[in-house]
């Protein structure tokens, strides 16, 4: 058989209903209650696919029941010296804010795309 594929780290991302801002799901393993956080570092990271699916199911259920977020889905992240970093540049921009007007908002904080 081929090489063993390492599972990617993943987090659940969504938009908050009230203001549209990007949020991340934080929930302890086995918990039925999650919280939506504004910073990627606050997200619960799934290091295998089973945990990722558990988080996603929790996020989707919360979105349906509480109607507080829109369209949760999983994104891949990697751990770097500076912290978590989405592997796709689209998601990096989503997590860190626009790469323009770097005087404003969360993009005003240190970034690296």
């Amino acid at each position: 058989m081929g090489e063993e594929v390492e599972d990617m780290d993943q987090v659940v991302i969504a938009n908050r209903l009230s203001d549209g801002l990007v949020v991340f799901l934080a929930a302890a393993p086995g918990s039925l209650q999650g919280e939506w956080k504004l910073r990627l570092e606050q997200a619960s990271v799934a290091s295998d696919d089973a945990r990722a699916q558990e988080l996603l199911a929790l996020g989707v259920a919360a979105a349906r029941q509480e109607q507080k977020v829109i369209e949760p889905y999983l994104i891949e992240v990697e751990r770097t010296a500076e912290g978590l970093r989405p592997t796709l540049y689209r998601e990096r921009i989503r997590c860190q804010g626009p790469t323009v007007r770097t005087d404003l908002g969360k993009q005003a904080e240190a970034r690296e795309v």
Partner: protein, 551 residues
């Protein structure tokens, strides 16, 4: 300019009240996103990469000082202190909260503005020439006709669920500043042999995945028949337009697949049925609308402008501003002043709340309170006394609004791209910012002369890259940003689609490629030739050779 009547006021305010209730239900969890999405889109509220985005219509690009101040207020109070002018006479706010959007819409309604029909498969905001009512050689003020079209198309029951969105542009001058040939319908005012004013009707232009230059289906349409003829076109489209494939649903594909001749025959046959219906425009009605667009009380001024001439003679920067940003006015002693929203190294088309307030004040002080927005993402003060230009320039400069580059290489059209737009493949704004930085030198700018760069972050082509002299298109290549470059397009009277140069480039390479294209033009041009003229004379090969190296 046009002012709402009771009917308009009631319509817009009712919509705000209705949307307020819908938002409440959504926030209370009584409506799901699937149920709510069409409702918010019908009120101009999109969800983008980072937040909601509110798209506000600026009908045919005309705005007064009071409305501009309101936009500034909204930017400051409800957003992050800035807004973005798009290529279709819209203002987009990038950070509105859902819970505050009904308040924003109520603020807008108080100054006769709204976000209705800025989304969906309906007839969108009608666009026009930013010099309307001021341009030398204009046949008639096209905004009269834009307003007539706006009233007819607003909540038109038959055309609220077209196969796809529908965009109309109108110009009253021979010079096309509204890119009419790349709209679903483009209307150019013409005179017939007897001197009567009417329209050349162009159908099926468009950009996006399958770009087309529109086809003239009627060289001359009498004015009073405008609405019946538009209705005939829309009816034929509504019947034949494809609904099986979103990418083939625009009227450009209908015209292409049906054939322009057959399409014209169908329109004319339909028109015969309704030509003399209630849609025929009675003269009193046209006159009533026209009264809203009566010229302001121009003063009788001398042709000479001594203060302006003296400043031109001694101030090189001011002279450059006048040369590039000021256009001839139809009334003696007046001038049209363009305000460039393309300062070096900044996002094209963005304005801060402070700048919006300054523009509103300057409109009051210099231009009868009138402001225009352009499809090239700039602003215009349409009626400025020529001899007060130095004073205006100084006040613009103090607000960082005196970039002297209208029509030059740094006057770039760029869509929001991947910095904001959820459909994007790649970023558009940072490329534009870097190009303006590369070509910041005034002498070089002047040497290059007229040049339009247009950049889109995906094939939807909101940045009009197909019709840029140089067009840049962001694509996704194996998860990385990548750019295709094309050259030879034009959005003016001589509208043409650019041709792709060859393989694409990384974000790091693309500014160098633009520079190589410019250098090739400078090396080959004959005296007095613009980029597009040189390109048309020598073709693509010399540019290819320079960019990719000899084969």
């Amino acid at each position: 300019m046009y002012h709402y009547d009771e009917y308009d006021h009631a319509l817009v305010q009712d919509r705000v009240a209705q949307f307020r209730r819908q938002v409440e239900r959504r926030l209370a969890g009584e409506l799901t996103e699937d149920q709510f999405r069409p409702l918010r889109l019908m009120n101009g509220l999109y969800l983008q990469l980072h937040a909601y985005m509110l798209r506000i219509a600026i009908p045919y690009g005309t705005l007064d000082a009071r409305q501009m101040r309101k936009l500034a207020y909204i930017a400051r109070r409800y957003d992050k202190g800035y807004g973005h002018f798009t290529t279709r006479h819209n203002m987009q706010f990038n950070w509105p909260k859902l819970e505050e959007t009904p308040d924003i819409l109520a603020e807008l309604a108080s100054v006769e503005m709204h976000a209705i029909q800025t989304s969906g498969n309906c007839i969108r905001n009608v666009t026009s020439d930013q010099y309307a009512g001021a341009a030398e050689g204009e046949i008639e003020d096209p905004r009269i006709w834009c307003e007539i079209i706006r009233q007819w198309s607003t909540l038109h029951p038959e055309f609220s669920f077209l196969p796809r969105k529908f965009k109309i542009a109108v110009t009253g001058s021979e010079a096309d500043r509204a890119a009419v040939k790349v709209h679903d319908i483009g209307l150019i005012m013409r005179r017939d042999g007897a001197g009567q004013a009417g329209f050349e009707v162009i159908v099926g232009g468009g950009l996006g995945r399958t770009p087309f230059i529109g086809k003239t289906i009627r060289p001359f349409l009498p004015k009073e028949d405008l609405l019946s003829y538009l209705e005939a076109i829309l009816r034929v489209y509504n019947q034949l337009g494809r609904r099986d494939n979103k990418f083939k649903a625009r009227i450009k594909v209908t015209v292409h697949e049906t054939g322009a001749e057959e399409f014209t025959r169908l329109v004319e046959a339909e028109w015969l049925q309704i030509k003399d219906s209630a849609l025929k425009l009675p003269k009193q009605e046209v006159d009533r609308i026209a009264r809203h667009f009566e010229p302001p009380a121009f003063r009788v001024l001398s042709k000479t402008a001594p203060a302006t001439e003296a400043r031109i003679a001694r101030d090189r920067d001011f002279a450059a501003w006048v040369r590039h940003n000021v256009a001839a006015h139809k009334v003696s002693g007046y001038a049209i002043a363009n305000i460039s929203l393309k300062p070096i190294g900044k996002p094209p088309g963005d304005a801060t709340a402070e700048q919006m307030d300054v523009v509103a004040d300057l409109a009051d002080a210099f231009s009868f309170g009138e402001i225009r927005v352009t499809h090239a993402q700039n602003l215009v003060l349409p009626h400025v006394e020529r001899d007060r230009l130095p004073e205006l320039y100084d006040r613009l400069a103090a607000a960082g609004l005196a970039a002297s580059n209208i029509g030059l290489i740094s006057d770039i059209i760029a869509c929001p791209g991947l910095d904001y737009c959820s459909l994007a493949n790649a970023r558009s704004i940072p490329i534009a910012e870097r190009i303006t930085e590369r070509f910041a030198d005034r002498d070089r700018l002047e040497l290059i002369g007229e040049m339009q760069i247009k950049s889109s972050g995906c094939i939807n082509a909101c940045g009009h890259h197909h019709v840029g002299h140089i067009g840049i298109l962001g694509v996704d290549r194996k998860g990385e940003e990548h750019y295709q470059v094309q050259i030879g397009g034009s959005a003016s009277e001589d509208a043409a689609l650019g041709r792709i140069l060859g393989r694409g480039f990384s974000a790091d390479e693309v500014v160098d490629v633009v520079e190589k294209i410019v250098d090739t033009y400078l090396a080959h041009r004959n005296a007095g030739e613009t980029f597009i003229e040189t390109y048309r004379r020598i073709g693509q090969d010399p540019f290819k050779e320079r960019v990719y190296g000899a084969a």
